[in-house]
Symmetry: C2
Subunit: 316 residues, 2 copies
């Protein structure tokens, strides 16, 4: 989903210092409404041969967003490590081989979407840039391991990578997915579409959000960022918006009235409550802010973005 947003943005706005972008989308499959224009390849990154074939085209910039989501990685342990970690290993090894084959002249910028799931409680009031990564999900552990690899391959000069610890992306368009965080979008998206939404946690839950539009903005900003400014710490906590579920619901009320709020049905889910209890609530992303990354400052803006970009237009 973020990949589609990113592709659309690159087509519409281009990229600083990169004229005549030649974009290739790679995925296991593409949705019917996928962005038109870029060439497409399908395949599975868990296969080392696939990673080699991708690296052989020597792209200047790679946006690596592929992953199975948190709920899936939690339920399917081997699949999670294979796809979320080992694929990164194969990809990095493939790009290192191209670097070597080029005599050291080729070095791809790799922008990797990590996650705030690399953090686990207990947390300080705000998580700072020097707080430890102690994930409490397999997904978070896999993302953190990928960050370590990407940083080390970069330190050695084989690639030039950044890991972006994305906030929870909200409001996601489309349908609910297996991510335990799916409801954060669902309680806004479904009511705006006149449908019921399930709220599986208490409305006092506080969490860290950014819109799909901001996520695409982060990726574009990271694509051309001067890596020397990272001083060897190539995993970044990105800006976002900290708010409670109750504050989300109040913003929904302002945007769409009480009838929208009435469509939210509290149905506590112990599995989701437990996972969410171990998630970050707030950050002080000073480094990323200093590096020029920007996100929304109110949840109202996040809802406005969904309405402007993704709410299906009614024919009536």
């Amino acid at each position: 989903m973020v990949g589609q947003k990113l592709a659309a943005r690159l087509i519409a706005q281009g990229l600083t210092d990169h004229r005549d972008l030649d974009i290739t989308l790679f995925d296991v499959s593409f949705p019917a409404d996928a962005v038109q224009g870029p060439s497409r390849q399908t395949g599975n990154l868990a296969d080392p041969a696939t990673a080699k074939a991708l690296a052989a085209s020597r792209p200047d910039i790679v946006f690596h967003l592929a992953a199975i989501v948190s709920g899936d990685a939690e339920q399917n342990f081997s699949k999670g490590w294979d796809i979320n970690m080992m694929s990164m290993w194969h990809l990095l090894e493939a790009f290192r081989a191209e670097h070597d084959a080029s005599g050291g002249s080729y070095r791809s910028r790799i922008v990797f979407t990590s996650s705030i799931a690399v953090f686990g409680g207990p947390f300080p009031e705000k998580i700072g840039d020097e707080f430890l990564s102690a994930p409490q999900t397999s997904y978070g552990a896999q993302k953190a391991a990928c960050e370590l690899m990407l940083t080390d391959f970069s330190r050695k000069g084989f690639v030039d990578g950044l890991s972006l610890r994305l906030p929870t992306i909200c409001v996601r368009p489309g349908r609910p997915n297996l991510a335990a965080s799916s409801f954060f979008s669902g309680i806004i998206r479904e009511p705006l579409n006149g449908q019921e939404a399930i709220l599986p946690v208490a409305d006092t839950v506080r969490h860290w959000h950014a819109s799909p539009k901001s996520a695409a903005g982060f990726l574009v900003h990271a694509a051309t960022l001067d890596a020397n400014r990272l001083e060897g710490r190539r995993a970044l906590n990105l800006p976002g918006l900290s708010c409670t579920v109750a504050e989300q619901i109040e913003a929904l009320r302002r945007a769409a009235g009480q009838q929208a709020v009435d469509l939210i049905k509290p149905v506590p889910d112990e599995a989701i409550i437990t996972m969410v209890a171990g998630w970050p609530r707030n950050f002080d992303p000073a480094r990323a802010m200093a590096l020029g990354f920007r996100a929304e400052s109110t949840f109202d803006e996040i809802i406005e973005t969904y309405i402007a970009e993704d709410l299906p237009k009614t024919s009536g």
Copy 2:
């Protein structure tokens, strides 16, 4: 080396709640003066079949100390990741398979020797228990990745692991090795044996030390520690002693006089200076202290331990 110390200690003192210890040593090879008594196996953990064979014997406790050292991992990138990270993966997968085959009743305690190399500067005055892991060597990145895996396999209940971030072990007996930290031992050990030692860094360098005896003590303590007390954070910064090279040299003077100190020859080595500049200098290991781990409190004690345990006895 630490493995030999550990084996000798287990034979001499046993282990709490474990009568009739049945110890097996596993290594790529054994030194001529290896501890006598335990059965021995040789092999290479980088081979998944080897890990499977080890797990099949279903040990109650595994001490995993195998690694190639920092200098070697820095010079030989692929070898470092293969041996230091992928071996851990194979080992954990093998123990998970045994756990599954047992219907969930078998769960090995795995004590893994990690390292303070998981940290990279800039550092606070003292590194606390919530400081980020941002390694600046491949060795450190590999150790940090192993910690993430061990914690996640443990969280899922497949194994019951702890990662011990050992201080630099000093004074190591025997000969210099490829570790960039080798000189910290060399400048004490060689003079005590009447030999010249090279000091490749300035004597203002501050670092974090514990003796081989303390290291064996950490491992034994970790072997029977109640994992519930770790509250999901299974990587521990261990206690040690912070001192400068100049303070090490003063302790050597107190132990063996000026003629010993005169054997230390300053020969600056830029590669070592650069690596050491990125290493931790001091810690506040509050969690490990609360959990009962203990180390030396003066460098004089560390030298006394070397003299008592490891200094070759002269026949004169």
